[in-house]
């Protein structure tokens, strides 16, 4: 059986990496991700964990080394955040298009400017179309579990697509909770050894990888990649179920609370969903028909499942922890697409909150719900995102 430890989100991921029998880690420290790589380096240094650790001189080189190692046929891991993830941007596309099943932890932190150390999703959202599966964990336990699940999904022959496991900077990365860490034997029931199944660098069977690709075949390669990503939906369901059977902890691509008969549903991701769940429970106790739907898998997006949940709902309040300046938040746009998929005619409102580490309180969620209900009652459409936690007096109006 596993061991119960007090771990924060970062340490939980490090243990998840060790239990996933990752063979090579290459990384570069950046707040708030640093403790992940420190913990892994330290476990290796103390010989508690046998793996190769490349102390890259930048995030760009870290992901380059991961691609090199994964192309050669070993199980790999890296972690980053904010500026570091931005620096990796060039490589995230190379990694996914080469169909390399790498896993990266993203400890979400705002992408400056202005300079900021604290959480929002502006870093990982720049990666949303780079061809990586994206799982949003809300607690240290989930961070560990999703890391292990990520390897099984990414390495599945039907998928062969890398995964980002996202936790919120500080809210989860530095939050210490009770974490059930599987023993080596227990983990073995789920994880298994890494097997290379596609083209790789092998002198016994030479391949040219990541070659210059003409317009005659580029589209078909991207479509093949898209199919691998889409196949990940079903594979995630299978692995969540298998994981639940082995460890007793059950997950799914969307996790809903109190949505049956709900008139207003909050859709959100990451650490704020715990607060949202709490608020919804309280409002339910006072007779309000509200629910919350947390997106766990942002890529591939669970459009069908979400549209099923939103059927019959009157108001949908989507909270993006990122501002899409001049347009609407990425989660909101996904929700609209899912609603169109299922011909859901509910009112949908876009909210921006929690930027650069601004706390999302119970009151913030209550305000979101109240605003959505108020606009819905008036039959108003969503003409622009609502900055729900704004200090209006501090905003500079240039016009």
């Amino acid at each position: 059986m596993g061991v119960i430890k007090a771990l924060d989100g970062n340490a939980a991921i490090a243990h998840g990496v060790m239990r996933s029998k990752v063979q090579l880690v290459a990384a570069y420290p950046i707040t708030p991700q640093t403790p992940i790589v420190e913990t892994i380096a330290s476990l290796i240094d103390k010989k508690e964990y046998e793996a190769t650790y490349i102390t890259a001189e930048s995030e760009h080189s870290a992901l380059s080394a991961i691609i090199g190692a994964a192309s050669t046929g070993v199980r790999t891991f890296t972690a980053s955040a904010s500026h570091g993830l931005a620096l990796m941007h060039e490589l995230t596309g190379t990694c996914s298009a080469s169909r390399l099943p790498a896993v990266m932890a993203v400890v979400s932190r705002a992408i400056p400017g202005p300079m900021a150390l604290w959480c929002d999703h502006s870093d990982i959202m720049t990666q949303r179309d780079q061809g990586w599966i994206q799982l949003f964990a809300k607690s240290p336990q989930e961070a560990l579990d999703f890391t292990m699940i990520a390897y099984r999904v990414s390495e599945d022959e039907r998928v062969l697509t890398p995964t980002m496991v996202d936790i919120d900077g500080f809210y989860c990365s530095h939050l210490t909770e009770r974490v059930d860490v599987p023993s080596e034997e227990e983990a073995e029931k789920f994880i298994g050894d890494f097997k290379v199944v596609n083209a790789h660098l092998d002198t016994d069977m030479p391949y040219a990888m990541n070659n210059l690709t003409s317009p005659g075949i580029f589209t078909e390669i991207k479509r093949s990649q898209d199919l691998g990503m889409r196949a990940a939906s079903g594979v995630l369901d299978e692995r969540f179920e298998e994981f639940g059977n082995v460890f007793g902890r059950r997950y799914s691509r969307i996790i809903c609370d109190d949505v049956e008969d709900a008139e207003t549903v909050v859709v959100c991701m990451g650490s704020m969903s715990g607060t949202a769940k709490h608020v919804v429970k309280q409002l339910r106790a006072s007779g309000k028909k509200v629910g919350v739907c947390r997106i766990v898998a942002f890529r591939p997006f669970p459009s069908r499942e979400l549209s099923g949940v939103l059927r019959g709902v009157r108001n949908v309040a989507v909270i993006d922890r990122v501002s899409a300046m001049g347009s609407f938040g990425p989660l909101y746009e996904e929700v609209l697409a899912a609603m169109n998929y299922g011909r859901i005619g509910a009112n949908a409102y876009s909210f921006v909150a929690g930027l650069g580490g601004r706390d999302i309180w119970e009151q913030t969620i209550e305000d979101v719900i109240a605003k959505a209900e108020e606009l819905g009652a008036r039959g108003e459409t969503c003409q622009a995102p609502i900055w729900i936690d704004l200090k209006e007096e501090k905003v500079v109006y240039n016009a």
């Binding site: 090579l24 190769t52 069977m205 070659n211 210059l212």
Partner: protein
């Protein structure tokens, strides 16, 4: 000659390009148990297009900025797999080595991964049509220095003297035997090796395509290109420049120097002399 030709014949490199010959020579030494990588550059022409490749060995096109980091990953993965007999060869140009890739190179050398980095220096970004790099000789015209480059080139070899390379060498397509000997030496090392090869470019340097080897030989003879190696803390000069006064002849053989004034020519000659004198002094020292 080995049984296998590890670089395909009929490459789509420019006529008179030295890079193909250098690749062929390197693999004649390293053999089929080699994995190579090229950044997007002239060298990527060998890695190929679509389902065609010029390499008879596993190859991967990296991004421009970080070929040495890719090599770090490949090298360590091979170690994990117990494939200690497989060699890793990075094959890049001066842009990917001197400029955008310099940080990754310094990192990979410092960490000590076993790999051989070959820099084919054609003194500009030739694959994008010939823009100056920090390796371009002062006075040379390029697409971004139409009246001649104003700055002296970066001496990457001297910069790398203080890095923990297991083996460091300069070489030239004008002396393939010397180059192959150096590749063979690098292949024996259990750490990072750097071989900087002069690779004249008829398209960018603007000389007749049958003159590549002759120009490379002129560079060696005149001291514009020095042949030396560093091993076990000791620099060895492989060839003493015969005549610095032959530098103008080297320069005049290429139209890229057609705008050169006397002052710049003198500066180029003076620098070549100083470079050699510095190297001579360095060769007397224990560098480790």
């Amino acid at each position: 000659m080995p049984e296998l030709d590890l670089v395909s014949k009929g490459m789509t490199t420019c006529q008179g390009c030295a890079m193909e010959l250098i690749a062929r020579a390197a693999l004649e030494v390293l053999g089929p148990k080699t994995i190579t990588m090229t950044p997007p550059s002239c060298s990527a022409i060998i890695t190929g297009n679509g389902d065609e490749t010029g390499w008879g060995i596993p190859c991967v096109q990296t991004v421009l900025m970080s070929l040495p980091a890719f090599a770090s990953g490949v090298s360590e993965a091979l170690k994990i797999q117990g494939k200690n007999d497989v060699k890793v060869m990075g094959y890049a140009g001066d842009g990917g080595t001197f400029d955008i890739g310099f940080q990754a190179l310094s990192g990979a050398i410092e960490r000590g991964h076993k790999a051989i980095y070959i820099c084919c220096n054609n003194e500009a970004y030739m694959n994008t049509g010939g823009q100056r790099s920090s390796a371009t000789t002062i006075g040379a015209t390029t697409k971004t220095t139409p009246t001649g480059k104003k700055e002296v080139s970066k001496n990457i070899d001297f910069m790398l003297l203080h890095t923990p390379l297991a083996y460091q060498a300069t070489a030239s397509v004008g002396d393939i035997r010397d180059f192959k000997r150096k590749v063979a030496k690098a292949a024996e090392k259990d750490g990072p090796c750097f071989i900087h090869v002069m690779s004249p470019c008829p398209s960018g340097w603007k000389y007749p395509t049958d003159q590549t080897i002759a120009i490379a030989k002129k560079a060696i003879r005149s001291g514009m290109w020095l042949l030396w190696e560093r091993e076990n803390g000791k620099i060895t000069i492989n060839r003493k420049p015969a005549d610095f006064d032959a530098i103008p002849e080297y320069l005049h053989s290429q139209k890229r120097f057609s705008r050169l004034d006397d002052e710049t020519t003198e500066k180029i000659i003076a620098e070549a002399r100083t470079r050699y004198q510095t190297l001579l002094k360095l060769s007397e020292l224990e560098l480790n």
